[in-house]
Subunit: 634 residues, 2 copies
């Protein structure tokens, strides 16, 4: 506990690290010779010179007849000149050597064939016509590729044509990744409670491969400082970079910093970033040794802000992202001053502008990386950004792909995943869905943060669905039914607690898992409780909120609750029992003008198709009576 | 000769081809199961569901002490609560299982240690604090990746955390590339005159790999229709696509179309594109069979406009270029109407706008692909574009890389390659140089098509260099000397024709190779000829023009001319003899305001460095007396 983290702004940390690495020649080009056909993506370390001119002989540029130009000087359409094949002219194909004594080629299309073995020339040609001379493409000793150029697929042909069969390229940076921790088990094993599968090794290896590192994964090292010391010491000669993961914070088993100190020097211990704080940058045995945080978002960020720039400097080539764009922030972000705050999110195009929706910022949340396509940096002097403000974000995928997303938010339903599959397969449209509940979905459509929102809100006064909620916020809207679906209590298989209805929820010993406020399911529950005169406060677990039907079912499946309210399909997936409580209408809300949107038109085609409806019915718990129909307008 | 090409607009050809391929199920997903760690870049063919929740147990989110929240409810700074470690609290690290009976974690930083084995808690915590609950990241059965999604490096961690060790992905498209032709030899051999090394196989394989094809290269097939027929027939079952190269035009040895007809159907024979015309699209054995043109630019274009879209349709994913931008065309392009004309070129940024310089359009010119970073399409109804007009071009590299080019044009000098190496290694700046001669270089700087131009123009009136030429076109210019360099006659080793000076050029039996009009070397030659009263018309080869010193030297080396005028360094590279005729001043021309340009400042740093000058002197034939100095201003 004696070791406290100091926090250094990441640019300062990186500069410090890089200038020390300069001293130990880390950025000095190290070369190897490889076959040209294997060189795509590699970086040259010297100018690549042609060993042979191209073409390497005078060749015909067309299919035709090699002639002596002077024989044709007086050829006219009115007075053609006849040439005997094999004597005054020779048949040549594209690429053929120009035979000795001939100096031009006439295309097959440009001559007539008055009799076998004779051609008739009707216009003159000058010497050199249709001949590709030696070196016309390039000459030997010419620079084909400069030093520090990345070899493109299209370069391969020219290099081979120039007789360049092997190439001197920069050696790949070799990294050793050392996973550490008593709780870590190989990902191929099934982890016990308390054990964590080693997913970082493969994940970080894949990330580093994009930056040009070749990463070797060391077997997991137990929490033993001597063992870690020995591991680093024994390998430091063989690699360009050593990465220790994790053990870089100030916890009980965090030996990394001490081990680096013993073998060399710790330059930085603690970055002023969020995530990424527990990072160590050190040098030992003249090699960089990095203590990488254990959480996936932290580890990834440190790769982006430290390991990527290192590789760029070594390769003298930047690994470009897809540029930066301005986008509207759909959610207020509060940031601690003093740290650079990095927020992953999803950017999509809605109503003529880009919208950036931040994803979960918990460093441990790996699903954020599955969904993210952009990164926002909140600088350390900033307290954050308000919802609706314009922010600059770094794209992590091409803008053209960003354009392919169709944004849907609001309530969660499994049919959205099905629509996504249909849209991707048939039209290359990608559904980008987030689950914020029906009420927030209405707000998102009103603010033009999403094109569509899934809503299923029962009005307890009227017994009607959605209409009254939407009308409070939006004019010019359309509600299109996606399905009728069965809501009910999801209980363990065999219903061990003998739950038969809502009244059983208030019984002692029965635990419940709830949905979040603003969700249609929560509204439905509260409506039913009121109708049955039950007191929510008496339900054990009423305050435990989950954001999706699947999350509720998973809690029941794992024995963390006895029951929850949700749709039949979720219970079916987990093979749980289901006590139906009622059918509800799940609609898609959109602005009327959005009906003209190309992507939305395709989505409507999908949900109106028999193929889709059939798959929906097969899921169980859904009815497609009104699917695809406009059920409200206003 | 009976087979004539019809010409079909490429979109029509592609649509026709694709709709026929739809009928033979070419686009139908074919799946295979692979390890998740090998799946980066592959395309899912089903939604990927989590097999395990993450976390899979309730875990501590911090390094700290697991407590019972209720024990801390009355903790205050003024009245701390003491907890005994091992009894009322337990030490846990990030990721550790929350021990039975505990329901919150207090961070190590938030407690005091009044005595060994006891912690002092100074503020209350609520149940659940600092605990990551099962499924907080995602729940089992949740969709981690949708169908038809490309697996990113950052996905690997989450997939493995979700227990997804293998993945169902789309099988790669398997292509067979069949090189054909009696004149073709493996690229590993040294080709004789008339023989052509097989560079296309490896080149196209590399290009197709970018689109997701796995390409197998067949041994070269001789020009024998039966053999080609048998080759295609025997392999058609084993591959998704068969590519025959070349033999797709209407020449003597062009059997491809006939072979495809015998095995199936030719749908298209001849595209209305330039390059790319001699293309065949056919179907045989329910598989696409493509006759690919032999010239590299043609073959590459057909890959781009036919094979890439096929793959995109199969993978349901587009292989995005880097977007389109508007650029100023630096050269007039004339196009035949009736064909879509595709022109590769180099786009760079000069004076606040992008400039697109077309590269050689000869389909056989593979060096075009080495230099190109953008593609312009001149539509079939257009007659072309005028110099200076704004055109839309498709980027073939990220815009951020385009920004790294420093454009230099004008006269060719070998020192430019040396500057390029220095700039790339030290500053990541890339010199983009083209060789248009000194006079055109001045025009390019005047029109802001290039930041710099190399010039070495002798004024025969004054005996001065460059100044008078530049002043005719440009005000506010600066000339910075790059070097003094020796010009002279380049002759074969041993000088077999006993050439001792210009007077020998008019001797019978002596052949000469000239530089192009507008080049400084040509001006110098004409000046010397006039001075010596020699008649250019009497020089055999005076009309044969080459664009670079190396090209001149290569011609002499290959015995295609007895001598040429050029710099000493070019003679030295080819180990030729050199008869000095005089020293000239080679300057870099720029606008005065360009001195403020960041890239140009770095270039000036380079040429002023001792390191650079030393390497220049080592080349021979150069003097660095004035290198880096401003020699003229006006």
């Amino acid at each position: 506990m004696a070791f406290y983290l100091n926090q250094v702004p990441f640019e300062e940390a990186r500069e410090n690290f890089e200038s020390e690495l300069l001293n130990v020649n880390f950025f000095h080009p190290r070369e190897e010779e490889i076959e040209t056909v294997l060189a795509v993506g590699r970086i040259t370390c010297k100018p690549v010179l042609a060993k042979r001119s191209n073409p390497h002989f005078n060749a015909s540029a067309v299919d035709g007849f090699a002639v002596r130009a002077k024989d044709t000087f007086f050829a006219r359409e009115t007075s053609p000149i006849l040439l005997k094949v094999g004597e005054n002219c020779l048949r040549v194909d594209t690429g053929d050597l120009i035979p000795e004594g001939f100096d031009a080629v006439i295309m097959v299309e440009d001559v007539l064939y008055p009799e076998p073995g004779v051609i008739s020339v009707i216009k003159p040609v000058t010497p050199g016509t249709n001949i590709r001379f030696i070196g016309e493409d390039f000459n030997e000793e010419e620079v084909l590729l400069p030093a520090f150029a990345k070899v493109k697929p299209a370069d391969v042909g020219a290099l081979l044509a120039g007789g360049v069969k092997t190439l001197k390229v920069l050696k790949k940076l070799k990294a050793l990744f050392i996973p550490t921790g008593d709780e870590i088990v190989p990902f191929s094993e099934t982890p016990e409670p308390g054990q964590i599968p080693d997913t970082n090794s493969s994940f970080i290896k894949a990330v580093l491969a994009e930056y040009g590192y070749e990463t070797f994964i060391h077997p997991i090292v137990r929490d033993d400082p001597e063992l870690l010391y020995k591991t680093v010491k024994d390998n430091i000669e063989k690699y360009d970079v050593i990465i220790i993961n994790a053990g870089s914070s100030a916890g009980r088993d965090d030996y990394a910093a001490k081990v680096i100190e013993r073998l060399g020097r710790v330059l930085v211990h603690g970055l002023a970033t969020k995530p990424g704080k527990p990072t160590i940058l050190g040098i030992a045995g003249n090699k960089p040794v990095i203590g990488l945080p254990g959480f996936p978002l932290s580890a990834y960020l440190v790769c982006e802000i430290i390991l990527k720039p290192l590789a760029e400097k070594y390769y003298k080539n930047e690994f470009h992202d897809y540029g930066k764009i301005k986008a509207t922030l759909t959610k207020t972000l509060i940031s601690t001053t003093g740290v650079d705050d990095f927020v992953w999110g999803k950017v999509t195009r809605v109503a003529g502008r880009y919208c950036f929706t931040p994803l979960s910022r918990g460093a441990s949340v790996s699903s954020t990386l599955l969904k993210a396509n952009a990164l926002l940096r909140i600088p350390r002097f900033s307290e954050g950004y308000k919802e609706g403000s314009e922010v600059e974000i770094a794209l992590k995928e091409p803008l053209a792909e960003v354009e392919q997303y169709l944004t849907v938010t609001g309530s969660h339903d499994l049919l959205l995943d099905l629509i996504d599959s249909f849209l991707r397969e048939k039209y290359g449209i990608k559904l980008s869905s987030s689950h914020v509940g029906s009420l927030n979905g209405i707000v998102a459509v009103e603010k033009n943060y999403a094109k569509l929102a899934g809503v299923h809100l029962l009005d307890p006064e009227t017994g009607e669905y959605n209409k009254s909620y939407v009308e409070k916020r939006l004019k010019g809207y359309v509600l299109i039914n996606l399905s009728l679906r069965e809501q009910g209590l999801i209980v363990a298989r065999g219903n061990p607690k003998k739950i038969s209805g809502l009244a059983d929820l208030v019984k002692p010993g029965v635990t419940f898992v709830n949905r979040q406020k603003g969700s249609g399911t929560r509204v439905f529950l509260d409506y039913l409780l009121k109708k049955e005169n039950l007191n929510a406060r008496e339900i054990s677990g009423y305050d435990r909120e989950e954001y999706t039907h699947l999350a509720v079912a998973a809690k029941v499946k794992n024995g963390l609750a006895d029951c929850g309210l949700g749709i039949y399909a979720a219970a079916k997936i987990f093979d749980l029992d289901f006590i139906p409580l009622g059918e509800e209408r799940y609609d898609l809300l959109l602005r009327e003008e959005t009906l003209e949107d190309t992507q939305v038109k395709k989505l409507l085609e999908v949900i109106n198709s028999q193929e889709f409806k059939k798959e929906v019915e097969n899921l169980g718990g859904y009815k497609t009576t009104y699917t695809g129909q406009i059920v409200e307008k206003g």
